[in-house]
């Protein structure tokens, strides 16, 4: 296509069965932007219903978009779309990876990679600008991600960006990930690479991503963008009172005088970090104290880090000497959020304790090398339940049961992880296999786990997937969002807005402006019944989730619907994404047009889900929630103060109102023919019709 700014113009396709490497015109897919949108489109066009995740015919799409590598803030992410191994019916889903790999792909001249087929022996793909080679990876197979990365860099250059799988992916573990830059992972898709005998993709790119806007205009927009950013998850006020700040609230903006990156040599103070000091955005989020607790989270933090182009820095890197002496792994580790709570999730050591941070970082050392994914915490939770409830003892062969060092687990000794992580990554024994096959299959194998998933303690939403900012985050909004996808729902649009930390009344006002009703937003201690504002809020959340994952832009901080700027009355800019995209590509696109593109992508995903389920009644067969959502707590009714319990009839109303907002059929929740055609998905409507799924 005519080279626009942002895009590089071609997409790389690699067929590992034939060894054929080819290039396709990006223009074909421009209606879907890139990233996850491109991934859905490829799955729709090329993968037949009934295909399974580990079949050679399955595609895996490493999707980047027009903003990736453009240097726009927060544009470092990659959407990796495929049939999802960790779903019982292997429906389509996307894993999301940050780091520097996606930008490097753009510098190398590619707008995404489609991989299909299966190599006859282990290989890795070397992309050196427009030279693409399939190289032997037999020497890497059986080794972890750290070694694979190091050996590839030693082979072709230390500045290579490598995304690799570890032994978990090789062994077709359904909760395996692909990782780059040591701590950036896309959960779930590792096994798909393993099934294709694909160990890694290493990239070196020397080219340019063009910016269409003139330099001055682009610079002004960039600094405007930066001025609207708060901390990680778009908390726009500090967590503690600061001399410069009007407000403070429950945010990740932890920086303050006297709080340090304690293991920097010498220590670095995070300091005051006033909202107008753009040279300190990277200190605002000292996440060590959030992920590990005060004290240890400060003492051991070397620095923060994160993706290409992002000033927010949400990954916390630590140096813990005891990791070396006690467990024989490197003292330097790090991750963020659930990556950090994976290891500690097996134990009951309190936040802020040495035992807990050791467990967390040992967990990272092992999981990030084996390429094992926590399934947003569902794996450790189910594992601990299985042990504590006596299920494992009852089900496992005594010889196997006794070979596992349970004493360590009883004593909250992190060394237990050395056994459990390896056991799952290598599918050792019945227990190893049971968990390696993922939680949906674990439910099938042991109904006790399925029963556990219906309880609040399991934090399991549906289909054996973890809840992820669900009913506790915006009541019906979070609940509807958690019904939409085929994995734990990676939506932060709503939480990034709700977690601004601004006073509730001000947030109500802003909700009114955004969603047409202040009632879209409930106080976190008093939920109210469904209303139209909430339906609009849910729709907006989904639109921007899909847009961010397609552009690509980070949905872990965007959208910037609020801002730290008092001069703007703490308003952000809803049109920011469209302004940035227009400036980069040079094609003027309005907010409304961009949102229509988001809806196109979202409706395609919905159609794709129906197609792979071979089911049109998504309302009753897909958009579901586990029992606890409606039952917990037993002794209080829905909408009582302080409870997040949902009401069944109200949730049915919520579906009605949300489907109406989306142009989806009330009875089935399917996008109607009219809706599909409105968003340029005529061909998709025809496909659904052929399959008997069109309503």
């Amino acid at each position: 296509m005519a080279p626009l700014g942002g895009y590089r113009g071609k997409i790389l396709r690699i067929d590992l069965s034939t060894g054929k490497v080819s290039s396709e015109d990006t223009a074909k897919y421009k209606d879907f932007l890139g990233g996850t949108g491109l991934g859905y489109k490829i799955l729709w066009d090329e993968v037949k219903p009934g295909t399974k995740a580990f079949d050679p015919e399955n595609r895996i799409i490493f999707g980047v978009g027009p903003l990736t590598g453009s240097g726009a803030p927060l544009s470092g992410r990659v959407s990796i779309t495929s049939l999802w191994p960790n779903h019982l019916n292997e429906l389509p889903a996307t894993g999301h990876m940050g780091g520097h790999w996606g930008a490097e792909l753009k510098f190398a001249g590619w707008d995404s990679i489609i991989v299909q087929g299966k190599a006859d022996k282990p290989v890795w793909i070397y992309i050196n600008d427009d030279k693409v080679e399939i190289r032997d990876a037999r020497h890497l197979w059986g080794n972890g991600i750290f070694r694979a990365t190091e050996e590839i860099c030693n082979e072709v250059g230390s500045d290579t960006q490598v995304a690799a799988i570890g032994q978990a992916g090789e062994n077709l573990v359904r909760i395996a990930c692909v990782m780059c830059n040591r701590s950036h992972s896309a959960g779930g898709v590792g096994g798909v690479l393993g099934s294709k005998n694909l160990k890694a993709i290493g990239i070196r790119g020397t080219g340019a991503v063009a910016i269409a806007a003139d330099k001055k205009a682009w610079k002004d927009l960039t600094y405007e963008f930066l001025s609207l950013i708060g901390a990680n998850n778009q908390g726009v006020v500090p967590r503690t009172p600061q001399p410069w700040a009007e407000y403070y609230g429950n945010t990740r903006w932890t920086a303050r005088k006297g709080l340090y990156w304690g293991s920097a040599k010498p220590a670095v103070e995070t300091g005051e970090c006033s909202a107008d000091d753009l040279n300190r955005i990277g200190y605002r989020t000292q996440k060590g104290v959030l992920d590990h607790g005060e004290g240890v989270g400060e003492k051991y933090l070397v620095r923060m880090g994160g993706c290409h182009s992002c000033p927010v820095r949400c990954h916390a890197y630590t140096e813990i000497p005891a990791l070396e002496t006690k467990y024989g792994v490197s003292r330097f580790q790090g991750n963020t959020c659930t990556g950090n709570s994976f290891g500690s999730g097996f134990f009951s050591s309190p936040s802020g304790s040495e035992a807990r941070i050791e467990a967390s970082q040992l967990g990272s050392a092992l999981a990030d090398d084996y390429g094992l994914w926590s399934d947003y915490g569902q794996f450790p939770r189910d594992f601990v339940y299985g042990y504590k409830s006596g299920l494992f003892k009852a089900k496992l062969d005594p010889k196997e049961y006794d070979s596992i060092p349970w004493k360590l687990l009883d004593n909250n000794d992190p060394a237990f992880l050395l056994d459990v992580m390896k056991r799952i990554a290598f599918r050792t024994g019945e227990l190893g296999k049971a968990f390696a096959d993922g939680m949906p299959r674990l439910e099938q194998k042991w109904p006790e786990i399925a029963a556990y998933h219906q309880t609040y303690d399991s934090s399991c939403w549906k289909d054996a997937h973890a809840k992820h900012h669900s009913s506790e985050a915006g009541a019906q909004v979070g609940a509807l969002l958690n019904m939409m996808y085929n994995r734990d729902v990676q939506c932060h649009t709503h939480t990034n807005f709700m977690g601004s930390g601004l006073p509730f009344n001000l947030m109500k006002e802003i909700s009114g402006e955004l969603f047409g009703s202040p009632d879209a937003l409930d106080s976190s201690t008093q939920y109210t019944p469904m209303n139209k504002g909430k339906a609009v809020f849910t729709k907006m959340s989904l639109i921007y989730l899909e847009l961010h994952n397609s552009l690509t832009a980070c949905n872990w901080t965007l959208p910037l619907w609020t801002s730290p700027r008092k001069d703007r009355k703490y308003r952000g800019d809803v049109a920011l994404e469209s302004k940035v995209l227009s400036a980069v590509t040079g094609e003027k696109i309005s907010r409304e047009e961009l949102e229509a593109t988001g809806l196109r992508i979202l409706n395609l995903f919905r159609a794709l889900t129906a197609r792979f389920m071979n089911e049109k009644d998504l309302r009753n067969k897909h958009d579901l929630a586990n029992e606890w959502v409606y039952e917990y707590p037993k002794d209080k009714p829905a909408f009582a103060a302080g409870v997040t319990k949902m009401d069944r009839a109200d949730m049915e109303l919520a579906k009605d109102m949300f489907y109406a907002e989306m142009g989806w059929d009330k009875a089935t929740g399917m996008p109607t023919q009219q809706t599909l055609e409105k968003y340029g998905l005529k061909q998709v409507a025809e496909g659904l019709k052929q399959q008997g799924l069109l309503v």
């Binding site: 590598g69 453009s70 240097g71 803030p73 520097h100 510098f107 750290f146 070694r147 990365t149 190091e150 050996e151 860099c153 030693n154 230390s158 500045d159 960006q161 830059n181 040591r182 790119g205 020397t206 080219g207 340019a208 991503v209 063009a210 910016i211 003139d214 330099k215 682009w218 610079k219 960039t222 930066l226 920097a264 040599k265 010498p266 670095v268 300091g271 000091d277 753009l278 040279n279 300190r280 955005i281 990277g282 200190y283 070397v302 620095r303 923060m304 880090g305 994160g306 993706c307 290409h308 182009s309 992002c310 000033p311 927010v312 820095r313 890197y317 140096e319 490197s330 330097f332 790090g334």
Partner: protein, 249 residues
């Protein structure tokens, strides 16, 4: 004439707010006391043979330089982005005149020694080493190597700058810089290097961790080079080197 004769005595420097690296050019020039009438620096040009204007023994000292602090760097590469996006209108790390990407994962030593060691890099001890141009004192390796005299000392801060109308794209300067700090624009077929953005470094303005600063110039040409190359005065093309004798007796 000894090149040291042209050293500018800088007044002691007091940075108003050491934590803020976003110093405006005006502030900066105020600090170094330049821009005032008495401080115009004479450029004494060596005897010219074959018109090689780069062979200037007594070239003006730079007034500033960009330095990095690896203990603050989080590897976001917004500095590289700003350098090329706001100077060249495209985002291209290979063209950035500040270098982070190449040290990001395995540090300046690279991946040759394995991983997770106590050496810099994201797979090592987490230190990320930003490399910046030293704006070298005479003999300026990149400048001396240029057969076309295309690298010139240019105000307001006397950065060593590629004059693209003179640059023929021969890449001699790239081979000459001991720190591998010159870059090459493959689209324009011209060399480039850090020009200090007319005294308002974009990279410094962009850094969200105040990990790079624009400071008064100091001679850091003694730092261990990234790569050992033939010393500039030997690698210099004949039309340039033949002028050396006029000073180096």
């Amino acid at each position: 004439m000894n090149s040291d004769d042209s050293v500018i005595e800088m007044p002691p420097i007091e940075l108003a707010d050491a934590s803020s690296s976003a110093m405006s050019r005006r502030d900066f020039l105020k600090i170094v006391g330049a821009g005032t009438a008495g401080l115009v620096i004479a450029q004494v040009v060596c005897v010219q043979v074959d018109a090689a204007p780069s062979a200037q023994a007594d070239i003006a000292k730079p007034k500033g330089m960009v330095i990095g602090d690896p203990t603050r760097c989080t590897g976001c590469r917004r500095c590289e982005i700003a350098c090329t996006s706001f100077n060249d209108g495209k985002n291209q790390p290979s063209l950035a005149r500040i270098k982070v990407a190449r040290n990001l994962n395995f540090g300046p030593d690279g991946a040759q020694y394995g991983y997770q060691r106590q050496t810099p890099g994201h797979f090592g001890n987490f230190l990320i080493v930003q490399e910046t141009c030293r704006q070298c004192a005479h003999p300026v390796p990149c400048m001396m190597a240029c057969p076309n005299g295309a690298i010139e000392v240019t105000g307001p801060v006397n950065a060593r700058i590629v004059n693209t109308t003179k640059c023929t794209g021969c890449r001699q300067c790239q081979a000459a810089c001991p720190w591998d700090m010159t870059v090459f624009d493959e689209q324009l077929k011209k060399a480039s290097k850090c020009h200090l953005c007319n005294g308002e470094p974009e990279c410094v303005k962009a850094c969200p961790n105040a990990a790079i600063r624009f400071v008064p110039w100091q001679d850091r040409s003694k730092d261990i080079p990234k790569r050992w190359v033939v010393p500039a005065y030997l690698a210099t093309p004949p039309n340039v080197s033949s002028t050396c004798g006029s000073c180096h007796k």
